[in-house]
Subunit: 330 residues, 2 copies
């Protein structure tokens, strides 16, 4: 899947070069069948790998020669511009944090993911790195999400919403309320829409949905699961009789369009934002097309100096502020 | 919408009787056109009502003669077996808690909602009443959800899952972990599946999804929003050309089946569980069919002595336990 993904992405990015970290004995024969991928890649052999059930803390301590760690090290050394892994998310985050570290002013990295909406793609963060978030974390996610939407989604002036729940007085946790009041007074006030609810994600009410890693992970997985269930059921009902089969044959261009639009592979690639280096997590179950999409996002971010722009944004914001803490200074 | 919903439900429940709380001058003319609803209903006039933007605390203090409050009072007095409202959720919860109170052993009521899944309907709770939940709350939601699934969904032995996130070591908040370890040692251990993630809701991995009110509200609204977006886009693409229109005409029986299955009106009616009385919140935007569904759920729960069964379950569970706190005793 990884080497086939490289082959796919070579078509759109002929200048890209790839370092493949892993077992040469397994990788080399796969490359033999893929001429473009072979020409664009070098293998960095290692026997060690991080297993899917490894604890992040253990992986960090023990797996210093693993393919995952060596790939991150290569980003830290400046040898690679970005790294993409389909491995253990927790270990990937722990190692990336340890090796790449957060730039000044960013307390914690977040995981950003892209979702389809009625009004175009939406970025949501955090979708799983931080379970408990305070107002400062949420505000920093908002800043990083805004840059992400400009660079990866290509939007000129993205709008930002804070995920909340709409049960009137009970509304929202303290951190969410506090983050909202700071953002309303910040230089980002123009972009800040206010609170959004779960259904606003698919509506596309805002371009950037900011939330903690627990609610964000629940939201993204619930959306994915709902899409899968609906596509599966639609397939079942449309194949249920000769008449419906004929009908869906006629409607095929439309249904294909629908499937492409909702294709989860198009949204593969969760980006770790807020680190001195680009790390992207591809879904473990992704195919070559999905993995190629994650590589695409990595290349886009590297070509557009994503991390430099994040730093600039934070510096700009600090300059305009008056208070001391980077968050309060916005 | 309310009186039309009564008319709809009279067809399936000819023995049901309705007390309509509100402004007689507005309600009476509406009933004139609906003979069955008129015959089954009595109007309890009041001028006062709780507005949608009223604060729950203010509604509780001030609106003692409001239609909402009088309807809840009528449940407390035993005059009504259940109440259904399409009004202010926060006020409805605050008043219901204050008037009906929780039975012994239940610390906090929760809001339960039914969702479609690939394996049949699923109940999720809490979907908005309690933002911060400790392990005891989650355990009590699990017990109430199990009874709900038996009575409302008609399942013999429902399975229970605790909503969590799957980022390995970072996995889950303390309360979720603690609730899981208590449930694994409880008399509910046979029904307890363990942790589930957002995508398990639509997969139907379990019959009962237990979570706090923040994540639950985010999940249910995200699922609703995703369904709406997909149905809307499907409609658009199928109507895009003569050919696709013809195709969807042929596939109409299948598409209609699909629409019925996913119809949000079929899932209208969020139930407040854990109170000495049945209170159901109908969606503010529901139509007569949706409101009738909420009435249906109320009638089902009343006929099946839902609250008695919850109490029995808690007593049974306490009897089998050895420790003092109701939660630890499970």
């Amino acid at each position: 899947m990884v080497v086939e993904g490289v082959e796919v992405v070579c078509a759109t990015h002929p200048d890209a070069r790839f370092l493949l970290f892993g077992n040469e004995i397994r990788i080399a024969p796969l490359l033999e069948r893929l001429p473009r991928a072979k020409a664009a890649s070098s293998i960095r052999h290692t026997d060690d790998e991080v297993s899917d059930d490894a604890k992040p803390s253990a992986a960090l301590r023990m797996a210093r020669k693993s393919s995952m760690r060596l790939a991150i090290d290569s980003v830290a050394k400046g040898e690679s511009d970005a790294m993409v892994s389909a491995g253990n998310t927790g270990a990937l985050m722990a190692m990336s944090k340890f090796v790449l570290k957060t730039p000044p002013g960013i307390y914690r990295p977040a995981i950003a993911a892209i979702l389809p909406s009625h009004e175009g793609d939406v970025v949501m963060l955090d979708v799983g790195a931080n379970i408990d978030c305070d107002a400062d974390n949420l505000i920093q996610f908002a800043v990083m999400g805004e840059v992400f939407a400009r660079i990866v989604l290509g939007l000129e002036k993205p709008s930002i919403g804070l995920l909340n729940i709409g049960v009137e007085d009970l509304k929202g946790v303290e951190a969410v309320k506090e983050a909202a009041s700071v953002l309303r007074e910040s230089t980002l006030a123009d972009c800040f829409f206010g609170f959004v609810e779960g259904d606003d994600i698919a509506k596309g009410t805002v371009d950037v949905v900011v939330t903690d890693g627990f609610a964000g992970n629940v939201a993204i997985k619930t959306a994915e699961g709902t899409v899968k269930m609906m596509v599966g059921t639609l397939k079942e009902v449309l194949g249920s009789s000769l008449r419906t089969k004929l009908g869906s044959l006629l409607a095929k261009p439309a249904l294909d369009h629908f499937r492409r639009w909702i294709d989860p592979r198009r949204f593969n690639g969760a980006v770790f934002v807020g680190l001195n280096g680009i790390t992207i997590k591809s879904h473990g179950g992704a195919d070559a097309f999905g993995f190629a999409h994650a590589l695409d996002v990595a290349i886009d971010m590297a070509l557009n100096n994503f991390n430099e722009k994040i730093k600039e944004e934070f510096e700009l914001i600090e300059l305009k502020g008056e208070k001391k803490s980077p968050a309060a200074a916005i």
